[in-house]
Symmetry: C2
Subunit: 727 residues, 2 copies
């Protein structure tokens, strides 16, 4: 007889009893025990008060549990069991879920581990003492048990994993009893506690299957991402978390250090510190946590140590609680040397590569550098959706320019799942009106919801929508299929400062208007600024309302879109503090290279017209990542800093940009990169609205950690070590 | 004719010239250019002053370089070229290394990228203008070039990669010129700048092949480690970097936050903060950076969300510059639920598992729990050494207990590459002397260097060593092969307070002493304390001196060793601040479980005798990692906190231990874990003494970053945001 078959019906229970006896014998001899039990009991009272006294495990049983005693390794995880195991005896470990009592001689329990749930059957017919013991065990206790796998009775099979089998328990060892009165039961998803309670007891909430599944999916996604990087010969490099604060760092976390600028601590290794703090005694010194590894990664690739860098990088931002932001977050970060425009066309002359870029106008045409970055990111995204979602994405994603996106969708991260497009109707206006628009650098646009096309889904929404956009006007096409523009449209009337009378027919025809169509008209500056226009916002409101009304469903399919060729500089406004001494600030960051075609314009002062080699990846209207080809020419970088952004040279010299400029002068290769927000990406993949659901130990929207109770005050003594005076 | 063959000899050079012309035409039209060039020139002067004027690229050439212009993708990396490519035309990108001028018509250069180095040949016979142009390019400039791969002349082949081939350059495009006067040349490893200069210009030093190789090896090691975890079904989970400070956190970094404890910011999400700071206006609040993810990982595994956790975790320690420590470091961190003692022996009764544990005394016997952790760590290490070093390690590593290690090697991290072992000679002493030793709980030990065995390698060292150990005495065995212990050994004479005369023969025989042997004798407390004994330190000094003398070479083979069963508690001394209110502090941390066999002793007050289920992994005398089975019994954990470590309950209640205790009460599974120091491990694998060589952007030994110039003072305005008063 095989060892497994000997005494399987008794050994574990016997072990449990023998160990309990042994422990009782050994431990109750000890004179130190009573106070301990007293303490334990004292602490447990609060948790057990509301439980029925008869259901409480005897205090004497409890104290004598053989905590730490050897127990056997499981033979299977709950999730690994299947009908193929029927007939086997198995050893399982897991959490005991609430009893379902059939009658006084028979009970079902579920046993859960992090791989699955299996149904347990315990029968008094087989072992009365075992049933009695297991009925005493508190829900969520951890146990080791032995039993026989068998098929469930035919009518009781369920179509989920392990739904066709059950385990008839032969013996059970209590490994760790749970309190009777837990803050909540993670298995009871019908009665979930409020989020703050669940965050406070995160170690209990994480036992909930949905969160456990999210963490595993996140780990799998990280594995897939790393696999693609590995196959493509990327080097994973860790960049510093303790960095230097930067001028753009208004929202950086500082980290005080016990290093001080006092002359006594000045050693050769410390010249950087002592030189900046010469003569100051005990000035507190600070590292800063990085908002992104932008500078280290550029320096790394500029060095040539690695050709292709990646990292799942920790980033930090000390900003006011914006919904669904975390003060720390993870970025899938990459940077590549020698990013290019692809293979040259050898049959043509030297201008061939540039001609190629302008010639092709396919929806996947990429007209800027950094093609290797695009290929890598697309490979990453394809792998994730293929393996995690079972969706095969196209080899190349659609590409649009910022300008086109703003014109067609009024948004720099268009949601392509919504069909309606905006039209520029300026050219249909009379010459005189067009001239007035041109002189103001303005255009007139329309968004038409057509009664007769697939737009119909939005028609009810179009009728009901009360938009808060002040600069748009709503027009309805009359029975005769046309609009009397001069009379109906104040925007058109006011566009010219003079009377016009021949507007109608031409626009009505050009727009193919029909009876019942509803449209919105807006006038705006021809060069778009910012992330959306009034009509763009209205388009999304229409879609949202149509969904609420039940007329429209956002398609499940992911619609990926590259948006490229953003304006490199944006007119500085009060919000943009960084380097905004002049009229201009960088739309993204000051290291983004201008488009090759626009370099001349940049040096000639046509700053507004300069497009950057920046690319955002947009999924269903959400920006999931972005990047750019960087400036590798130190002279150009310095021109951008000093002439366009008007940062003073002194300032850049003494800040962190000095070493970047010098690194470019040491023979930096052309390079470019990209970064995904990993938390946001995982929230999308886990189909949850909150990134807190894909983070093991998240903070609240205001940055507090309810589990670890941070942030918290520090003592005067601790602060003194850092040279920080207490208040 | 294939497109690649058309005009390969001219197109790139033509492109370079045409682009230069085009750029000159376009850019010099700009009125904005002159000041920029002025600035660039101004900055370059410092770097070019010492270079020979004739070798300086014309300023006019330089300004007109087509920075940012499209250039073709490389066809090969330098490292990918081989003799198989002979006859092909290739496009390469890389850094141009110094010219080796054969004569005025022929030069060699090397081209380096991060994959390898290939020799370039440029001949005036083929293209005079090309040679002239390339001779003007500054060393370390980045170029794109096209050329034909060919075999080197027979006498010029070298036995390194690409050592048998060369590329005859056809055309060359300068992508980015390097300054003429770099701080140092990374390719010139014969004249390396001092470390501080290299740290300051890390982006240049990283171009050095050795550092580049280290970073790649580190990335490869991380990949191998993750592969093993993935195969074993571990879940990678990111734990918070912004955590709560803990009582043991005397050397933690604090992170001030703009969140303050003012009532106005108190919202439901912030109850944790407001409750701890009620009534205080603008009290600065702090997160703390983790020294290890110990608590989050235990809470995670206690939750059951994941069965097996791992992370390459960032850790932080604000400690005084200990040589070769970094304020931030990386830990390979793992934790597993349900760690056990292995499969039970079914053929035996309930005491079988424990009997099994004590019965086997093989050198790989593991007598504590956490066997799954051991198996995982051994699999990780085996994979690393197999793939990176080509060394197949045994299936199981040797195991020793702390007690044995201290007795045999006088060290809790023995270097098994050194043969000599220490012997306890107490039992050879006369009964009366032994009684005196026993009453004092002391032993007498000897370390013998034998003239006639393999110890001979240490004999010269033994003669020359001048040890600083005060508690040892050195004896030499006379011609007659014995020692007159009473006369020669003061230690033996003083061990008893009375005269003894029959010591010699028995010890001399038992120790098998021979003429010429040299030995050291020491008396110490029988229960070892701390990490080494006097004889243990002396053993290593002997080996070190023997190596210096050239008599001994440390074997190359890695000797891995588990050291287990450490004392769970250590007598508190001044160094151990944490929780040392009583006589005892935790040897490792307060979460380590006692050995099952010692639980009774612990509750009975035999604290000194309690061994922990702790395990260190030692490689060649260096501790490379450690871990333990954790306490999962809340009552036991509380007993350890309050009764043994005498931390007050109030204090633990309000600190971070409260939630750990509660998590244990929510049905925590038995669990255990481990952590490697990844930087140290990589330094060993990269065969360097300094962990700075395996970190992309390291800090100096005093924690300063010479590249990013941190830490640095913060402005009064920034500090005010954090409620921190300036001095």
């Amino acid at each position: 007889m095989a060892p497994e078959q000997i005494a399987t019906d008794v050994w574990l229970l016997v072990m449990f009893r023998a160990l309990r006896r042994a422990t009782a014998r050994n431990l109750t001899l000890s004179s130190r025990i009573p106070p301990v039990i007293g303490k334990v009991r004292g602490l447990s009272v609060a948790h057990t008060l509301s439980a029925s006294p008869s259901s409480i495990l005897q205090e004497s049983d409890r104290a004598q549990l053989p905590h730490g005693a050897p127990f056997p390794r499981r033979s299977h995880t709950c999730g690994a069991l299947s009908s193929g195991d029927v007939g086997s005896t198995v050893v399982l470990t897991g959490w005991l879920l609430p009893e379902r009592k059939v009658n006084h001689k028979l009970s079902f329990f579920n046993l859960r581990d992090s791989y699955g749930i299996v149904q347990l059957v315990v029968s008094a017919k087989e072992d009365e003492a075992l049933l009695a013991m297991m009925r005493k065990l508190p829900t969520e206790s951890t146990v080791s048990l032995r039993g026989a796998v068998r098929m469930r009775a035919e009518g009781h099979r369920r179509p989920y994993p392990q739904g066709d089998i059950e385990v008839a328990v032969v013996s059970c060892l209590l490994l760790n009893p749970a309190d009777r009165n837990l803050p909540f039961l993670p298995s009871d998803t019908q009665n979930m506690a409020n989020e703050n309670v669940r965050l406070r007891y995160r170690y209990l909430d994480l036992r909930r299957e949905a969160l456990s599944a999210n963490l595993k999916k996140r780990s799998e996604a990280a594995h897939l991402i790393r696999s693609v990087f590995y196959e493509r010969d990327f080097t994973e490099v860790e960049t510093p978390i303790l960095l230097k604060s930067t001028p753009e760092g208004a929202r950086e976390f500082l980290v005080p250090t016990r290093l001080t600028g006092s002359p006594s601590s000045s050693s050769p290794g410390q010249s950087a510190v002592s030189s900046t703090t010469k003569g100051l005694i005990s000035t507190p010194l600070f590292y800063a946590l990085p908002q992104s590894p932008q500078q280290p990664k550029q320096l790394l690739v500029a060095s040539g140590a690695v050709d292709r860098y990646y990292q799942l990088a920790k980033c930090f931002r000390d900003e006011d609680g914006r919904k669904d932001r975390q003060p720390e977050f993870t970025q899938v970060d990459l940077e590549m040397a020698w990013v290019s425009w692809g293979e040259p066309d050898m049959s043509n002359d030297v201008s061939a590569p540039m001609a190629l870029i302008d010639a092709d106008d396919s929806p996947t045409q990429w007209r800027i550098g950094g093609l290797e970055v695009r290929e890598t990111v697309e490979a990453l995204v394809r792998r994730l959706w293929s393996k995690l979602e079972g969706i095969e994405l196209p080899e190349q994603f659609q590409v649009t320019t910022y300008d086109t996106a703003m014109h067609r969708y009024g948004c720099d991260k268009p949601d392509l799942r919504v069909g309606m497009e905006i039209e520029d109707i300026s050219s249909y206006l009379p010459t005189s009106v067009r001239a007035a628009l041109t002189s103001r650098e303005e255009i007139v646009e329309a968004l038409v919801v057509r009664a007769s096309t697939s737009d119909r889904a939005f028609l009810r929404a179009a009728r009901e929508l009360r938009s808060e956009e002040k600069t748009v006007e709503r027009l309805e096409v009359a029975q005769n299929g046309s609009i009397d523009w001069i009379r109906q449209s104040e925007i058109i009337r006011r566009t010219a400062d003079f009377a016009v009378d021949d507007v109608d027919m031409q626009i009505n025809t050009a727009l193919h208007l029909n009876s019942g169509d509803i449209l919105w008209v807006a006038r705006r500056r021809g060069r778009p600024e910012g992330g959306s226009t009034a009509l763009g916002r209205l388009r999304l409101q229409l879609a949202g309302l149509a969904e609420t009304l039940g007329d429209f469903t956002f398609p499940d399919d992911p619609r990926f879109l590259w948006v490229t060729e953003f304006p490199l500089f944006t007119r500085a406004d009060a919000d943009k503090e960084f380097l905004a001494h002049g009229r201009w600030s960088s739309s993204h960051h000051p290291f983004t290279a201008p488009m090759w075609q626009d370099i001349k314009k940049m040096y000639e002062g046509g700053v507004a017209e300069v497009r950057g080699q920046h690319y955002d990846l947009v999924l269903n209207g959400v920006e999931i990542g972005g990047g750019s080809v960087r400036v590798h020419d130190a002279g150009m970088q310095e021109y951008i800093f000093t002439e366009i952004l008007q940062a003073s040279l002194d300032r850049t010299e003494t800040t962190s940009f000095a070493h970047l400029l010098h690194a470019l002068r040491c023979g930096a290769p052309p390079h470019g990169g990209f970064a995904f927000g990993f938390d946001r990406l995982m929230a999308i993949l886990c189909k949850t609205d909150s990134i807190r659901d894909v983070i093991a130990f998240p903070k609240t929207s205001v940055g507090t950690d309810l589990l670890f109770k941070s942030p918290a005050p520090a003592s005067r003594e601790v602060l003194a070590q850092y040279g920080i005076p207490a208040k």
